[in-house]
Amino acid sequence: MIPLTTLAALPLPWPFEREYMQLALAAGLVIGICAPLIGVYLVQQRLSLMGDGIGHLAFAGVAAGLLLEIWPIWTAMLVAIVGALAIEWLRSRGRTTSDLALALWFYGGIAAGVVIASRAGDGGLAIVPYLFGSILTIDRSDVQVIVLLGLAIIGSLALFGRALFAIVVDEESARVAGIPVGAGNALLAVLTAVTVVAAMRVVGVLLIAALMVLPVATGRVVSRSFRGTMAVSAGIGAAAVVLGLAAARQWALAPGGSIVLVAAVVFGITSIVGGRRTAAPVSVIPADRPPGDEHDGHQHHHDHRHDH
């Protein structure tokens, strides 16, 4: 690995004029863009907490890596992917119908992580950066891995995103049409695991799901199309990284938490402003309904369920 002191920083303005901030920015932007892109599909599948659960499992993988003195990224990746596929397998067979079953699975993961880490020497302190993120201590090799994982995520979505869209719109019709629904859902689980592992050093396993969900929640309020939702969500994720890092630098805050707080504030503001705005189109629908649509009272009620 090349020592950081030998590298020249790019001529970027404050707060990214220093090398360590530029590395943080590069890693953060990859995660800020990729996490919401995966999150758009997870939220639509009602799997918003999937990232959180896999984060807990990845934590056990990190602890195993520290114990075995293997780079924790790889052990976390192995445990997260195996765990994600197991969760998807159980879900597809209707065997995890209760929150309780998933909770046992997830908290088993974090408990295993704590126990394994306690055996890894230094009292388990080495695991703390993975819990809350440590984006400001990230080095070049971390960034390289994160960029490669990000490219794998975006490449997979470019190739399989249309099939995943057909699946999240209507899984049963997609299955009838011959789209490989099982493989698609397994791919989504694996991509979620890869995103979680890539994001561990950026925001930490406890906050990963927030970057998969909050920008998407905002994107769904302001966008009319699926493509637009993906673009807006990724844009907000990237903006949250830039603003969160700037705030962390200015006021010496925890960067992972700052990034997530920016995403949460953006969602809060958007849902208040956007809620008022989206109420309008629903209320004017009858104006362009065809004659006779007044019989359709049931669906009218359904539409209002989604008012914000």
Partner: protein, 251 residues
């Protein structure tokens, strides 16, 4: 010559645990045929559809779709399916055009980008259900009848050889029913596709049906609408009476 059967059930039975839903059902639908499947609630209609589509495996008997067992069928996109709207969550943040385009994914090859043929097919399907003007509208903001037409357009867009619809016009306005009827008749007449329709409300299509199949776990009647009418059931005029009449049927 008899047209080839595109959907066939031979002695099919299926149970949910101890409860028999479908019992020794024989049913065939030929190319170019427009068939309605009717029966009271809980009579096994939707279960039979799911068996025919390969979403469930029969406990006994066999199913053929386009001449093959559902699991062996290649080019599955030739089977169009319109599920019950009320069990589908259309709050997806997507436009009408995006949802309809997703119906071409399997036919095009799920890894490929949509091309000109796909865009033309989407335009055609949207025109068939009179939604071309709303193509950029978020699907969640449409009325129930319009959403139903989106689902029908999504099934039509792959130009299926057989179209299976589960309660597609439940709670839908009259104008949407008329457009729905026109699009199905067009599919049967111009593309020689087969249509199997499960519905309680057959008034809109009563005059266009080739056959009506009445089931209550088993098939109780299978014949042309005129023959059913001779028993006192008039699909077009007394559509609402049909389920009540069926409830009185002996199993």
């Amino acid at each position: 010559m008899t047209p080839p059967a595109v959907l066939a059930a031979h002695g099919v039975s299926f149970s949910y645990g101890d409860e028999t839903a479908v019992e020794r059902v024989d049913l065939t639908v030929a190319a170019g045929e427009f068939v309605a499947l009717v029966g009271p609630n809980g009579s096994g209609k939707s279960t039979l559809l799911r068996l025919l589509l390969g979403l469930l495996r029969p406990d006994a008997g066999t199913v053929e779709v386009l001449g093959a067992a559902p699991g062996d069928l290649r080019d599955r996109w030739r089977v169009g399916y319109v599920p019950q709207r009320r069990i589908l969550d259309l709050d997806v943040p997507a436009t009408v055009a995006e949802v309809v385009t997703s119906g071409r994914t399997a036919r095009r090859g799920w890894w490929r980008f949509p091309g000109r043929a796909d865009r033309e097919a989407v335009d055609h399907a949207l025109e068939a259900v009179a939604l071309a003007d709303l193509r950029r509208r978020p699907v969640g903001a449409l009325s129930g009848g319009q959403q139903q037409r989106v689902l029908i357009a999504r099934a039509l867009v792959s130009e299926p050889a057989v179209l299976v619809l589960d309660e597609p016009i439940a709670g839908v306005d009259r104008e949407s029913q008329r457009l729905f009827r026109d699009s199905l008749v067009h599919l049967v007449d111009h593309h020689d596709s087969a249509v199997l329709l499960v519905s309680h409300e057959l008034g809109a299509v009563a005059a266009d049906l080739d056959r009506v199949v009445v089931m209550k776990r088993r098939v109780l009647f299978d014949g042309p609408p005129d023959e059913l009418a001779s028993t006192g059931v008039h699909l077009g005029v007394h559509a609402d009476d049909l389920p009540r009449w069926l409830e009185d049927l002996a199993p």
